[in-house]
Symmetry: C2
């Protein structure tokens, strides 16, 4: 292989950052892997463009897009080696990303996605389909942006079994709780998050714990081989957390955080909980301020291991890095 043809489906902030990362390191990649990743299709909600000799996706304008080209037409009939799936996807259904991924895997194409929905809802099916077709299904950015959680477990904890997970994985709620503790109202905290560019227009999925619940499913399905979907998670959001709760926790040295926990009960049933809890000093959760996040893996052979992403400010490049890294992993497998 001298080219790795990429179909980029979904090209918002993360997609554009991914393209910049790829373009900026083209020589390095060619030198290391002896092959060029080339974006040969781009599809957005407004149409698509296909160009066998490569697309300068960073310079793409609205008028370059052919509205007759949609995602499935490219995925089902286009010429590409890897689908990079970054569409806005409903985490309550995992769509449309799941269908895109199914179709690409069925054709024997590798898939890299930053979407958590497909992994929260349909992991086992997609994993098995990828294995059957002998291709990769990678999703490092689905939790903790691009910080290595899934690759950590798969590549570096070989022979280790993950028996439980715990973490803070939703940036919006963690930021809001930090701001409210420091005196802001919920609305002021959300406004500040919007100003910094990472809080959604409708933050319900974050505030109600849906995003965290979906990510907890991803962690449990992938790392613990659980069969669990978002409705199974015992989920409490942060709307009920008051300024007084935050102040009381702080007076006793603690912090209120939206913590996820996953384990198996005595019968082997997976149990996932997302809820605001008071965490004490000495806990990694206690120092997880603002836009930081972390996951702790409990393992049979190595005890507890934590990985912290210190996003000092919201970083659009971090999820893009996870996608970039997954694409390089596929390139590396061809060497």
């Amino acid at each position: 292989m001298d080219r790795l043809r990429i179909a980029l489906v979904g090209c918002g902030n993360v997609g554009r950052a991914f393209v910049r990362m790829l373009e900026g390191r083209r020589d390095l990649i060619r030198g290391t892997y002896g092959a060029d990743p080339v974006i040969t299709s781009v599809v957005t909600g407004h149409g698509g463009v296909v160009r066998e000799d490569g697309i300068d996706a960073a310079a793409l304008r609205a008028e370059d897009l052919d509205p007759a080209i949609d995602a499935l037409s490219v995925i089902d009939a286009g010429a590409y080696d890897v689908l990079v799936e970054l569409t806005p996807t409903n985490i309550r259904s995992g769509q449309p990303a799941t269908d895109h991924i199914r179709h690409a895997l069925s054709r024997g194409r590798h898939v890299v996605t930053a979407n958590k929905g497909p992994v929260a809802w349909f992991y086992r099916e997609l994993r098995d389909l990828a294995a059957e077709k002998g291709v990769a299904f990678l999703h490092e950015s689905a939790v903790l942006s691009g910080a290595p959680v899934f690759n950590l477990s798969r590549e570096t904890l070989i022979g280790c079994r993950v028996t439980a997970v715990r973490g803070i994985v939703n940036t919006t709620t963690n930021f809001v709780l930090s701001q409210m503790r420091d005196g802001a109202s919920l609305d002021e905290a959300l406004e500040e998050g919007r100003r910094q560019g990472f809080v959604e227009a409708d933050p319900s999925l974050d505030l109600d714990g849906w995003d965290a619940a979906a990510k907890l499913c991803v962690l449990m399905n992938v790392l613990m081989d659980a069969r669990i979907t978002p409705p199974d998670i015992r989920r409490t959001g942060i709307r009920g957390v008051t300024a007084e709760d935050l102040a009381a926790a702080r007076r006793s040295g603690g912090q209120v955080r939206l913590v996820c926990r996953g384990r198996f009960d005595e019968d082997g049933t997976p149990v996932g909980v997302v809820e605001p809890v008071v965490v004490e000093p000495g806990d990694v959760a206690h120092i997880t301020e603002g836009t930081m996040s972390f996951v702790t893996l409990t393992t049979d052979l190595m005890g507890d291991i934590s990985i912290i992403e210190h996003a000092h400010e919201p970083e659009i490049d971090h999820p893009a890095y996870g996608v970039f890294c997954d694409v390089l992993r596929i390139l590396r497998s061809y060497r």
Copy 2:
């Protein structure tokens, strides 16, 4: 390959724990990799034993050892695929482990070691020799026991450059500082650490910062591609830390920890510092109590990422796991 023949050189606590881990998972390994790791040679300071059909190393007694068999005779002339090098090694010279590793790599044999000395002093030579011979040189347990630091960087931070490292990597000094802060004298703290089985009879290399300095060199050489050896590290141990220093730090909310930092200065010269510092709340170092340890990697694409090993008590199985995992990594490369 249906067998991976292991020459185990050095068989103390870590070696025995590694053997138990391997034996307890033989069926799992065979099922996953289609191959059996078999220990065909064991060499200790009192002699060795070679048996082509495999050695039950866990059951080895002193009278099984032939005093005429020494490490280099097995390494230079024995039949094996992987050298597992676990000899007691002087971190001021990196010997005898470095010679053992050199000889094995020169013969085109894979090497797994838990020794930091060879990597602190001779990393580039050994890395290049392994590459020339097309074999693996793995040393995950050299820093942070078996928690993935080197494999994390190599396998999961593809395309990322590590520009600085920081961490707490010496368990003895961290435990001693935690105990002294809680009221123990230095001698009492050391005695308690000996009782728990992880403080050396002569703890000078720990207290004077030598162990931390060697580990910092390992981190910098491997992750940052620095050329640095232990004498280059600006090293201050913890003997000068008084009960009053610890109390004063605590009164202001801080903690005294022996922290390692590695970076490049403006000229590209690697700068490594090991010294006791007062760390503030919110810092990962602040929650690193007792036998915990951590490393933070500063990267170009993913910002800061920390990995924490939460050894709640001294764990001999953790360094053994690092060795076990490295051996599985080699097995996996044959699939």
